[in-house]
Amino acid sequence: METGHTEFPSGNILASAPDISLKAYLHIFNGTEWQHNISVHFTFVSLFSLFFAVPESCMLILLGLVLGAVVLIASKKQPYQLDPGLFFLFLLPTIVGDAGYFMPARLFFDNLGAILLYAVVGTLWNAFCTGFCLYGVKMAGVIVNAGLMDFLLFGALISAVDPVAVLAVFEEVHVNETLFIIVFGESLVNDAVTVVLYKVYISFVEVGPGNVHTADYFKGIASFLIVSIGGTLVGLIFAVILAFVTRFTKKVRIIEPLFVFLLVYLAYLTAELFSLSAILSMTFCGIGCKKYVEANISQKSRTTVKYTMKTLASIAETIIFIFLGISAVDKSKWAWDTGLVVSTLIFILVFRAMGVVGQTWFLNWFRLVPLDKIDQVVMSYGGLRGAVAFALVVLLDKEQVKAKDYFVATTIVVVFFTVMFQGLTIKPLVKWLKVPRSTNRKPTINEEIHERAFDHILTAVEDIAGLNGYHHWRDKWEQFDKNYLSKLLLRKSVYHKSELWEAYQKINIRDAISVIDQGGNVLTSARLSLPSMASRTSFPEVTNVTNYLRENGSGVCLDLQVIDTVPGAKIEEELETHHVLAGNLYKPRRRYQSHYSRHFMTVGEKERQDREVFQRNMRNRLESFKSTRYKRHKKDRSQKKRKGSDAKEQDTNDKPRRNVSWQDKAVVPVAPEEDKHDPSEPDKDDDVGITFVARKAPETPKERPKSAALDVCQSPVAAPPSPTCGEKNLPWKSGVGSLPPCVSVEATKIIPIDLQQAWNQSISSLESLASPPAPPEPQHPRVSALSRLGGPLRTPAKGKSSGSGGAGSGSNTGSPSSGQFKFPTGKEEEEEGALSQQQQEMQPLMSSLRPPPPPPPPPAAQSAGKRRNPCVYLRSLVTVPPSGAEPQSRRPTQL
């Protein structure tokens, strides 16, 4: 359908895009040379606009002019033109689709009133005034002779602000959001007005002015309503369909983006098919579906959609402007009339300004934040005309509109003038007027939370004051959305995620990335390794991240490893191999680099990671609530199993989380405990339990080792199931000294990505990381919880496999030792019962003091001693939390 997609270029967009699109036309001229030239030109243009801050659209038009001139000279006749079919079917939809999909929805609806006013009333005003005034000028005899209808038609097509041009220019200017959304929203919506007016006039012209009756005018108005509202509805319908489809694409991630593109495009085509406003349809399809689609599709698909859309849009934009330039050169297509050109220019500028001022004056009666004079100036000045107008004028039928050639020339001039002159000068103007610019700042978590609170406050105040204002309705809509729409359109797993939590994760990811960005040196240098408060304060920007890293860093690396190792059936073999290797190979430090990049690239398995994190998270929590009854439960397992499943059924409604399929198996042992919990523990516990309840009650011995291995991998601490795995661990222990580098490598690479994951899980799990390095700390609640996890799962017999698996997968020197160390504590805790948990939280150290764990502590000590390794930096961070910071870090672990 969309040829553009298949032609997706590689390399420099600007250079290759025109290359592709022009190919068809250029082959006439022994293409290759031309293509080459064009490519060179484009590269030149993009470079030029990069360095000289000239709007790209201007450069492109200029380039088009040059190209057109050259071609014209060579062939005496312009072989190619901006073809309306191409424009409306392919170029425009890509731009509009991009605009609609990435439209900031909240901002758009916050300013919907203003946008609609400007788009409808403003455009009508412009169209009529320009048309009538031109007719007046014609009456004065200054310009070309044409009928009133012709002028009105021309006024309609020339008055619409063009989304392509506005987007191209305003995106570079970075005016503040409100201003941008009003101008841009207007340019999108007024398409409906323009197109309808255009069509109505065309039909009038066809019928002949004399045959138009009064009823026809009303028909025109009615058709406007139908076209715009119908288009919007079509768009919304497709938005729902699209969102609904993406709900079920979990198994076919690869074609997720395709669905998005096709359905959005289909919205456009369908609307076009019914002669409704295709632009409106596509815009609203994009706006409507985005929230749900973004939530449903995978991270990779999200990125794909984003960049593909943006790329296609810029390609289309490039082509349009180039063609504008090219077709301007062909003299045979237009006829010059100075009077018409000048008066049109004056009229559109004047009426635009008048319209803006008048409407703003009216709007400011109602607006919470009035638009001030500066805003009005920018809005008037930002009324750029563009390719839409040009395409419309080219579409005119010369038989019916005799003055078409004059109109074409005038349109070209107007487009050139607005895009080139105004586009070039609007930036200095904005600077000079000191228009508030948009900041690229991302909201902090504080802002996210408080703004949410503000929304609630305002809604409440409106309710109290008894008026059904904007906030009242927005709240109503949100309720509706939450209760029905989201339920229908979102995946179950997604539906229950909180937006705020998502925001929180995003922020954390950003932080993590920024830390990494600040140079590997941050990670590798002594800074991070400084656990002290001093380091924190000295790098204020990094502070949060640093802390997080400190708390979470090690856990992250575990995650990735888990991912790699978990699902494999060959785990055992690999573990063996790994042990041998780990024990005997020396790992050079430079592996850092290569590992870093590789992992960075390959981190993609978000889905699995998510599941992983989720599973770990749940398990941690479960464990923390759980006591040592595991064995007893085992006996009753079959019984309990049933119960568990029942409970699961019950709780399904409450907890969205339990969707992970393979988890179930692994967690099976836990299920029984859950039953016990139910009475005593709050609902939360129940949820957790539910999550883990195994459907497959009869778990085979084989499964267990896997699960154990998983545990190990996820949380190094848990991994070292001390006593049982001794044999396998031996190689490890011997190799401890050499191993750390490997670990560190993992950690460093993974951190950015993992942090995301890590955030998903509670901080507590992250803290577990910290525990490995510092033997004294293992009793940390989190750690203990983890160890507990490992504990119950491992029967002595199975412990071996699990332990080995953990060690192998983790390849974590630190983990084995810490794991061993902790494992005992975990057991103790289990035995002590859930009650002890609280104590632990309060007094982490106390737990350490408890009787030595069954497994031999010496290895732990040994490993601890040896840990001074390159990779250790992370660990040291984690391990030695500043005394002041400790309480904070620990908190998250509490349940």
């Binding site: 109602f366 607006r367 919470l368 934040v369 900041t439 700042r441 902090t444 978590i445 504080n446 802002e447 939370i449 408080h450 703004e451 949410r452 609170a453 503000f454 609630h456 406050i457 305002l458 809604t459 409440a460 105040v461 409106e462 309710d463 109290i464 004051a465 008894g466 008026l467 204002g469 904007y470 906030h471 009242h472 709240d475 309720q479 229950h496 995620k497 909180s498 705020l500 939590w501 929180y504 922020i507 954390n508 502070t543 949060n544 802390n547 998270n617 929590r621 409450d654 949820d687 955030w759 509670s762 901080i763 507590s764 002041g884 309480p887 904070q888 908190r891 998250p892 509490q894 349940l895």
Partner: protein, 205 residues
């Protein structure tokens, strides 16, 4: 205008207010700056809420507002209408509280001696702040923040997630590292936000 005034006079509270001290009316106009039409409208609303006609509102009068019951932090907002120790709120206070949400009018002449208008940025913030700070110790503690978060997020997130959000929030805003958010810190953390946009309602303009 005459009719407006006469309607205004029909409102007992306003009359009382005017009679009591001209000053209060001045305060009404200068600080709250709610126009007469708005006062009348609010008074109608006030009377509608005050079903028993006692001339003041009790918490349960607010509780009767259906939509408010759906609001996750509705009870806190109701609480904000009642000054500590008081069980009722009269019309004057009612209007005064609502006046927090008037948009700031920029072109109003600044009188050097006039008190800070009730709809100033910091007063708006204070109003929001006190919704968090339930024990009125001037600080948002971790627990207080957690409560609000829990109310706003409901069952969507686990306690652990809530806690990590809360921790992060405090960590981010907490400048003096006392693990609480003071008003000053609160203000700082929202420095970049256009409070006038986010904490204003058009109807009081």
């Amino acid at each position: 205008m005459g009719s407006t005034n006469s309607t205004l006079l029909k409102i007992p509270n306003v009359e009382v207010l005017m009679q009591e001290t001209g000053l209060k009316l001045v305060a009404e106009e200068n600080c709250l700056n709610v126009s007469p039409a708005h006062i009348i409208r609010l008074h109608d609303r006030f009377k509608a809420l005050d079903k028993e006609g006692r001339g003041h509102l009790c918490p349960h009068d607010f509780g009767a507002i259906k939509e408010l019951a759906m609001n996750p932090i509705g009870d806190r907002i109701i609480g904000a209408f009642f000054s500590p120790g008081k069980e009722t709120v009269d019309f004057h206070t009612f209007v005064k509280i609502l006046a927090h949400f008037r948009p700031v009018d920029k072109d109003r002449p600044k009188e050097p001696n006039s008190p800070e208008p009730i709809n100033s940025r910091s007063n708006k913030l204070k109003f929001a702040f006190q919704l968090y700070d339930q024990d009125k110790d001037g600080k948002i503690s971790r627990d207080e923040l957690l409560q609000v978060l829990r109310a706003m997020l409901g069952m969507q997130v686990t306690d652990e997630q809530l806690e990590s959000i809360a921790d992060r929030t405090i960590q981010e805003a907490d400048l003096d590292r006392d693990d609480t958010i003071s008003f000053e810190e609160f203000r700082k953390s929202l420095e970049k936000i256009n409070i006038d946009h986010k904490m204003s309602i058009r109807f009081l303009r």
